[in-house]
Amino acid sequence: MEFKLEAHRIVSISLGKIYSARGQRGGLKLHKNLLVSLVLRSARQVYLSEPGCPPEPPPAAAAARPPEEEPAPRTAAWAAEPPPPPPQDEAGRDCQGPRPRRCCCGEENRGGCAGAPPPPHCPRKRSAGERGQAGSPVKKPRREEEEPPPPPPSPPGEQEDMETSNVASLISIFGSSFSGLLSKEPKGRRRPPLDGGEAAAGTAPAEAAAETGQICCDEPVLRTLNPWSTAIVAF
């Protein structure tokens, strides 16, 4: 449990470093960013590998709240401290990630979500959308510096874990902007379609982390990065 807490905190800190590294004088430091991405990967692995543990709120937000069983606390704490986005490697593997789930859900096919093979057109659309986003300034420093450190591989199983444990907690905070949610989403919650605007907001933080080569594929989690997405899109 403690490890999960610490892992989550470390992921948040790491993301902060990656983000703030952009404005650094002298250009991105490849060495430092590589190390940060390695820490991010380790923390993420620990976070995801602890089975059945509900995600703890980050220490900063946990002040008055005791840890809860599933679902995790549904407070603004999650908005303040973004949950760890699992890294993703090349776009080819995106298909095995949460995209299928998203796509399934988008198509109102909740039953087929968990672990179902992705409908081909959906992931491609999503990936294309992301790559389109890749042309944005967010991606430019990456190309200029030829720098992104490698994204760690993301086993699909872990994505599933992430989803099931986080979903309920994230729902309450992000409400209708939380498109692409999964089968565990309670009935009656509106799931907005995957439109360009959503994609843009959602993928911007993805691209921010893609700076380091890790495409944060877990869109639902990413969508929760409200403060991040605002800041990063603005950047």
Binding site: R9, G26, H31, E90, G213
Partner: protein, 449 residues
């Protein structure tokens, strides 16, 4: 001259000698010292700072009248080595910070050194001028040209003494060879070539040729997303001009022989210590990244510095170091905080003494540590203004790790992590050390009896 060879550390009492730099409370970032290096005789001491300046100190001749002042170092030359630049193609500013200075061995009256920032290496010539020619025919004393028709007689110009002037001129500029940030330069023992290393590549230069260099190591993967390690430091063997080593962010060292192939991607030796599984943490990878690698003067050993330890390796044994010294192991439980405040990324350097019997490296709170390889004893000293009375003996410091703190000890939580000693230098043959503490340069010597 008191030789430093063979002296045991416990016999040495380190005394304050000098401190250079201002005492202002607010430190200008440009004044932060980023590299320190003695030349091969120890007569000169060079520092580089974040503002791109190089300051060279020269040791004054020892005077029989003042035997106590064993050759103090005074400013000899100051010059702006690098300026901030802007890479318009990439929209990136290139910092002027001097990453490394390396001296060339002296071959004539002038001194030569290499200084580098992130992208460009420069060869500087530092020479003295104490005479000037007077009595030109075609120009007058102020240098204005004379009207040739007004000249009625010819004379031979003579050299007359003048006030000593030390001038530094850039003799070569080695640019546009590095995509990534240069972290090391090393002069080869052939004195004709040198290498420059960045995160992914190492280039070999000839001092005379600035428009091309040979790429001798390239670890850039075809797909950058597969990148797992970068080059962190590199150095030539002190005697064998074909041999060099480079360290990586994964805690490994590779020794390469340039005779085997033009591109030394395949190492001749690979030094790596198996990881201790009991010490595994989120930050294991970061703290195993090597920040400095130095050959011993003998060429038989290499020393590496990672975040918490200094290790000595025998070139003949690749599977583990022969010695490991804990610099500040009490930080092991604080790695998360140090990650948060970025201290975990600090790159400490390490140095050998002239006889390779003692090694030194820096720590936080302006502490620096020395390890005697023979007796296995170590000492922690502090560079501070409080200990700055002339010839004041430095008192060993101790960090209290837990439990009851004794009177003179300092607890881990009281350490000032903004006061870090990253750069130190040891005189090649004497017990004189230069320690850079942010914007101040401390010089300590052993006690004169």
């Amino acid at each position: 001259m008191i030789p430093g060879f063979g002296s045991l550390m416990q016999d040495v009492l380190w005394c304050f000698s000098q401190v250079k730099g201002t005492i202002d409370v607010g430190v200008t970032e440009a004044d932060i010292i980023s590299t320190v290096e003695f030349n091969h005789t120890g007569e000169l001491l060079a520092t580089g700072d974040k503002g791109g300046r190089v300051v060279i100190f020269q040791r004054e001749q020892e005077s029989k009248n003042q035997p106590h002042r064993r050759g103090e170092y005074n400013v000899y030359s100051t010059f702006q080595s690098h300026e901030p630049e802007f890479d318009y193609l990439k929209s990136l500013e290139i910092e002027e910070k001097i990453n490394k200075i390396r001296w060339l061995p002296q071959q004539n009256a002038a001194y030569f050194l290499l200084s580098t920032n992130d992208k460009t290496v420069k060869l500087w010539k530092v020479s003295e001028r104490d005479k000037r020619p007077e009595g030109y025919n075609l120009k007058d004393e102020d240098g204005r040209l004379r009207d040739p028709s007004m000249i009625t007689m010819l004379r031979v110009p003579v050299l007359r003494p003048m006030d000593l002037m030390v001038e530094a001129t850039p003799r070569r500029v080695f640019a546009n060879a590095h995509t990534y940030h240069i972290n090391s330069i090393s002069v080869n023992s052939d004195y004709e070539t040198y290498m420059s290393a960045d995160d992914l590549r190492i280039n070999l230069w000839n001092f005379e040729i600035t428009n091309q260099s040979f790429n001798i190591v390239d670890i850039k993967p075809a797909n950058m997303e597969e990148l797992t390690e970068v080059i962190t430091a590199a150095e030539f063997h002190p005697h064998h001009c074909n041999t060099f080593v480079y360290s990586s962010s994964k805690g490994t060292i590779r020794l390469c022989d340039m005779r085997t192939a033009a591109l030394c991607d395949r190492h001749a030796k690979f030094f790596e210590e198996p990881e201790d599984p009991s010490n595994r943490s989120f930050f294991s990878e970061i703290i195993s990244s090597i920040s400095d690698v130095k050959f011993s003067h003998s060429g038989r050993y290499i020393m590496t510095r990672d975040y918490l330890t200094v290790k000595v390796w025998d070139l003949n044994m690749e599977n583990r170091p022969i010695e490991t010294y804990q610099v500040h192991d009490y930080l092991r439980s604080k790695l998360c905080s140090l990650y948060e405040n970025d201290c975990i990324f600090d790159k400490f350097e390490c140095v050998w003494n002239g006889s390779d019997s003692v090694i030194m490296t820096g720590s936080y709170n302006n502490f620096f540590r020395m390890f005697d390889r023979n007796t296995k004893r170590d000492v922690t000293l502090e560079a501070s203004r409080e200990n700055s009375k002339p010839r004041a003996i430095l008192k060993p410091r101790k960090v209290c790790v837990g439990g009851k703190r004794r009177k003179d000890e300092i607890s881990v939580d009281s350490l000032d992590f903004s006061k870090k000693i990253l750069h130190t230098a040891w005189h090649p043959s004497e017990n004189i050390i230069a320690v850079a503490a942010t914007n101040n340069l401390y010089i300590f010597q052993d006690k004169v009896n």
